[in-house]
């Protein structure tokens, strides 16, 4: 059935909007955090999955966005949405700048560079504690003063929808094709007329802006902000989400985020063991199912009622596959 995934996505969206009122406070919180991770995982998969720019600084941008917004609101008493917008603007520019600076760096060097960037952000945020309150945590103004989290839920939903719309529009357009061309072979893409520099910078700017959006929302939802938002462990959790869902598609990355967040909550009794489990899942997924778990699952489900088609060629075989 063609377009089945669109109907399913619509049904999920409508269902989650309608059923919001019936959720209890706990699951409401879980859903909001899941949507926060959804934005992060999907924007990271634009960067890493589509453009092949494996950045480890994504959470640093989320953290920067959160702190920018929280501090601006605290100092100048500007409205919170304006603060979040300022965070997004700052991180879009900073992300573009990082993208520009790393133009000549390939795969692992880029990862090392962004890892360094995120460590510097984390160190500065935790050391300058007169300004940021350091590891004690910065208290932030709440976005809404309501008895329940319902307004946050709808806001998170709207932000996730916005992020997905931006990301899917990009990946469906010619730009998405260009980004994937960059990922596969930068020199060949340049030879075909893809403006390599422009698209690398663009991918960084957009993904970082969306990360800042998520970070800004998180700051004003949770009410307290610590530098550990930009920690390597949280970055790893986002990587796990994107990879398990399948980082080469935007919606599957969101699916991965939801799956992992729900798993994280249902296994809460196991504490630290959850992160170990996620590590194992990540390693096994990479080792045995690099396309993620959701895409093959989807193929399996939709393939049941249909006539047998020739199986798609395995990755790596075919005209573009046999690179040295």
């Amino acid at each position: 059935m063609r377009g089945l995934h669109i109907y399913i996505a619509l049904a999920v969206a409508v269902l989650s909007l309608v059923s919001a009122r019936t959720l209890n406070a706990y699951w409401m919180h879980v859903a909001i955090i899941a949507m926060f991770y959804g934005i992060l995982a999907s924007s990271w998969s634009l960067l890493a999955g589509y453009a092949g720019l494996f950045s480890l600084g994504h959470m640093a941008f989320a953290s920067l966005g959160g702190y920018t917004s929280a501090l601006l609101v605290q100092w100048y008493h500007i409205p919170i949405p304006l603060g979040m917008a300022a965070g997004v603007a700052l991180c879009t520019v900073a992300g573009g700048l990082i993208g520009w600076v790393c133009l000549r760096m390939s795969g692992p060097y880029l990862a090392i560079f962004t890892l360094g960037f995120s460590e510097i952000v984390r160190i500065v945020l935790s050391t300058e504690d007169q300004v940021t309150a350091g590891m004690a945590g910065l208290h932030t103004a709440p976005l809404f003063r309501a008895p329940t989290d319902l307004p946050y839920y709808y806001t998170a939903f709207g932000l996730l929808l916005f992020a997905l719309a931006v990301l899917i529009l990009i990946t469906r357009s010619r730009w998405g094709l260009f980004l994937r061309a960059l990922r596969e072979d930068e020199q060949a893409a340049a030879a075909c007329g893809v403006a390599v520099a422009r698209f690398r910078i663009l991918a960084f700017a957009i993904a970082s802006g969306l990360a800042a959006l998520a970070g800004g929302f998180y700051a004003h939802y949770i009410g307290i902000l610590t530098p550990s938002l930009g920690s390597l462990d949280l970055m790893a959790v986002v990587v796990v989400m994107a990879v398990i869902g399948g980082m080469e598609r935007i919606p599957t990355a969101v699916g991965g985020a939801f799956g992992i967040e729900v798993l994280q909550e249902t296994l809460r009794a196991y504490g630290q063991w959850r992160l170990v489990l996620f590590g194992i899942i990540l390693l096994l997924t990479m080792r045995f199912a690099r396309n993620g778990l959701l895409t093959p699952l989807w193929r399996l489900l939709t393939g049941i009622g249909e006539a047998r088609r020739p199986a798609p060629a395995p990755r790596g075989i075919g005209p573009e596959g046999s690179r040295p």
Partner: protein, 299 residues
């Protein structure tokens, strides 16, 4: 003046330890063509292994150091066999991305497992040789002297291995050209394992040497991992000698930075940031490292 001299001495010792870690990163890079993001966690694991060998088996610390090296050598080979073999298959696309995510995931897994198994509290193993040596106005603990001396010996042993033994030369041959090495009868697969094992063993040695000075904690590998990248980028990916020189230089630079930083309460935190900043600037100026060997590059 004395304070400065102490910083210079400490910087040299830390530099030697850094060099041990970085040499492992560079050997793994030149053979497997991946940047090992789990190196800092292998380092952490080596320190804990030595600690438990000392406390439970009662082996003297120096013996525990070598046992831990042997243990991590084997563990490295097991990890390489389990997770890195797709790197050698022609059917794997985008190998650098695979290596990145797998080693990054490995780091995450090892760090969190360590947090559960070893506990979050810092542990301090017994000294190699207790006591302090006074040279002029300078007081240096014996542990630092042992760390520096054993570190230098290990580096010399490694240089001997790389340049004067048939296995070391074969390792170099594989790093230059896998195919040509295979033609002259070197099995590249075996050397993948060897390189990863040697890298892990060197990290274990570094950790066991540093443990009595600072202490052990599950997160101790994160920053040395980045420092190792600083060194490898400065010294050139794939160059063992470059890593050694850059390691000692970085140790000294950090020691002096701490000494001269105006605000002593923040000096330590920014010393770490200083190393990272050096890394970022070096990468901006030379995206493949300052003295990289031409044949060693990503595929």
């Amino acid at each position: 003046m004395d304070y400065l001299l102490i910083q210079v001495t400490n910087g040299a010792i830390i530099g030697i330890i850094y060099a041990l870690i970085a040499v492992g990163v560079t050997i793994i890079f030149s053979i497997l063509k991946i940047v090992n993001f789990a190196h800092g966690d292998l380092y952490m694991l080596g320190g804990y292994t030595a600690y438990y060998i000392v406390t439970f088996l009662g082996v003297p610390p120096l013996g525990a150091l070598f046992l831990s090296m042997a243990g991590l050598f084997l563990f490295g080979i097991v990890l390489e066999r389990l997770f890195l073999t797709p790197l050698y298959s022609d059917r794997t696309e985008r190998k650098d991305e695979y290596g990145l995510i797998v080693t990054f995931g490995l780091a995450f897994f090892l760090r969190n497992t360590a947090l559960i198994v070893f506990g979050p509290f810092p542990l301090r193993p017994p000294s190699f040789v207790p006591g302090v040596v006074h040279v002029g106005g300078l007081a240096v603990t014996n542990d630092r002297i042992v760390a520096g001396a054993v570190g230098v010996l290990l580096i010399l042993a490694l240089l001997y291995f790389m340049h004067r033994t048939i296995w070391g030369q074969a390792l170099d041959a594989v790093s230059q050209s896998r195919d040509s090495a295979a033609i002259v009868g070197i099995n590249p697969r075996r050397f993948n394992s060897l390189a990863f094992g040697v890298g892990a063993a060197l990290a274990a040695a570094a950790s066991a040497l540093i443990a009595p000075i600072y202490s052990l904690s599950p997160g101790m590998g994160v920053l040395p991992n980045i420092q190792a990248y600083v060194i490898v980028i400065l010294g050139g990916m794939g160059s063992v000698l470059g890593s050694i020189v850059a390691g000692i230089l970085l140790g000294e630079a950090e020691g002096l930075f701490t000494a001269f930083f105006p605000d002593p309460t923040r000096a330590l935190a920014y010393t770490n940031a200083f190393g990272v900043l050096v890394l970022m600037i070096a990468l901006i100026l030379r995206p493949t490292g300052l003295f990289g060997r031409r044949h060693v590059r990503m595929e």
